[in-house]
């Protein structure tokens, strides 16, 4: 299931949806708000979500993950609205009998969510500037397989 939340994510409640007696693995990804992007200090982010289509496309991504990988359950939630440094913007949890499928499905879900859903983040910089990510100051690496060298920047990993 994919949902959009207008308040802080309840991470324990999300995780509590996953337990299954057949699960031998649970992989969780949390996307956090980082204090720097492109070497500029960031103080906060606003997430704009077009919910009608984000919910539809997010559900498609979850269905694709269940189809492609041998998993037991998958859950993803994304925040809409204002977030500050350290807040969790997106949460993905996947269970499976064995760990490989859960790792792969979790990676698939976060990568597709970032690529396909109508969600935009606006950064607020410490110097007072603002900017829409991927629109006004270059684009971040979208290659899922490429290793990310230290120092490469994006607002959440």
């Amino acid at each position: 299931m994919f949902t959009v939340s207008h308040q802080a994510l309840d991470l324990e409640a999300l995780k509590a949806e996953l337990p299954d007696p057949g699960a031998g693995a649970c992989v969780i990804f949390e996307g956090w708000i980082r204090d720097t992007n492109y070497d500029k200090p960031v103080t906060a982010l606003d997430y704009e979500v077009y919910e009608e289509m984000a919910l539809k496309e997010g559900s498609r991504v979850m269905a694709e993950a269940a189809e492609k990988f041998d998993i037991l359950a998958a859950r993803c939630a994304h925040v809409a609205g204002h977030l500050e440094i350290g807040d969790c913007a997106v949460w993905v949890g996947v269970t499976s009998a064995h760990r490989d499928a859960a790792f792969l499905a979790c990676r698939y879900i976060i990568d597709e969510i970032k690529k396909r859903l109508p969600i935009w983040k606006k950064e607020f910089f410490a110097n007072g500037d603002t900017g829409w990510v991927n629109c006004e100051h270059g684009s971040q690496s979208a290659s899922p397989a490429a290793p990310v060298p230290r120092g490469t920047s994006s607002s959440t990993k």
């Binding site: 289509m53 994304h78 970032k114 935009w120 991927n134 959440t156």
Partner: protein, 81 residues
């Protein structure tokens, strides 16, 4: 080109630059790309690689032929996660 009545919706950077989140236009445009070129000219919207378009809440393409009454949504490059 024929004149169509279309609802155009803008998001994020496009919404800020257009100064509105939607508008109804009677406009000569056969495709989503022609419509974008016209509203970009009117509002000073940037032509961004990876911008996307949806028609009536379904992802579409800038080559898509529009029909009278369509709602066309212009998405700047997404950045969720």
């Amino acid at each position: 080109m024929t004149t169509k009545t279309l609802t155009v919706r803008y998001f994020a950077l496009f919404r800020e630059r257009a100064g509105c989140d939607q508008e109804q236009l009677a406009i000569e445009a056969d495709t989503a790309g022609e419509l974008f070129a016209e509203v970009a000219r009117r509002h000073g919207l940037p032509h961004l690689t990876d911008a996307k378009v949806a028609v009536n809440d379904e992802m579409s393409s800038f080559e898509a032929v529009l029909s009278d009454g369509d709602t066309v949504l212009f998405f700047p490059p997404v950045s969720g996660g």
